[in-house]
């Protein structure tokens, strides 16, 4: 791995960690959503700094160059992050449906109360 590639990878992952930390600090990003992003930054940083480990992993997975391993890991993290978003969206859709159903009932009950009748059939 060339020195320039190393410097670029260190700066990019460092910036990612700083950006996520700032977003958490400003309460623009909740910690539970930031974990995988931080893991991505820290993972890439660790692999670049611990270069022999990167070379060893590359040999283990049959990658031609250590930079390929780095990209592969970055891609895997992004896939993981996308899956985690899908899981959270599914949960949110579930919660939104429940809230909208309850809201529909509350509106109906409020309307009935305003009209002076008990909420219920008819």
């Amino acid at each position: 791995m060339y020195l320039k590639q190393k410097i670029f990878a260190i700066i990019a992952s460092g910036l990612l960690i700083v950006l996520i930390s700032v977003l958490i600090k400003r309460r623009k990003l909740r910690e539970e959503y930031a974990l995988l992003w931080l893991a991505t930054g820290i993972g890439i940083l660790a692999l670049v700094i611990g270069y022999p480990a990167l070379v060893w992993i590359s040999r283990m997975i049959g990658a031609v160059a250590p930079t390929t391993t780095l990209f592969l890991f970055a891609l895997l993290f992004i896939i993981l992050i996308s899956i985690s978003f899908s899981v959270r969206f599914s949960k949110l859709a579930e919660q939104m449906q429940a809230v909208i159903t309850e809201l529909a009932f509350l509106r109906k009950e409020l309307e009935d109360l305003k009209q002076g009748k008990a909420a219920g059939p008819g």
């Binding site: 939104m96 449906q97 909208i100 159903t101 109906k108 909420a119 059939p121």
Partner: protein
Amino acid sequence: MIKDAVIIVPAFNEAAVIAETLAELKKFADKVIVVDDGSRDETAEKAKRAGAFVSSHCTNLGYGAALKTGFTAGLRYFQEPFFITFDADGQHDPQYLEGLLAPLRSDQADYVIGSRFLAGEAYAAPLARKIGSRLFSLATSALTGQRITDPTSGMLALGRKVARIFSGQLFPFDYPDADVLIMLNRMGYRIKEQAVKMRPARRPGSMHAGILKPAYYMAKMSVSMVHFALRRDLKEQRRVMESVS
């Protein structure tokens, strides 16, 4: 006049036809819930004027979500032992409501499907939809071990126990069809089909119109069917849901 069932009518932008549908329905059944799924027209107002119990979603959530709200409202605000789902667009004929309820009343079934194909009559639909419907019929029959001729029918009758399952997390938001049949079969509920005839809708358009929506429907339904077919905890889910009722 049906006294032991509540009719659930999901409706999205059906202002042009809802009054006519409800006026006809009211000749056969007294209790009607209309779930207005975030309509941008006067669907809710017209349904209220027609004497229905109306629950309005503040935004459009989809057919399955509207049904889910209907079942939840039915369980919460009504005491009747049975529910029937009925389309707002006039395709469903209320003359068949009694026939749908018969297997529930005689305790021969827990879930009754109004089948367009049971009597062997031709149903006017585009070829692609006919092929899709036939494929789902074959797959559902194979996975449930019983002949299901019309797994995509929206005219259904069910009791409070099944309604409680449908008001829970397992019920899909968008198109609850063949996947739900497999789920109920795996839970041990008895499914039966009754022959019904459907009429042309009172207004043009369908929720399965276009190319992308049917493609999404086919893909999503296939995944959902496999998911329910492979699940091993559905009997336990039933036990839990029935124990809290």
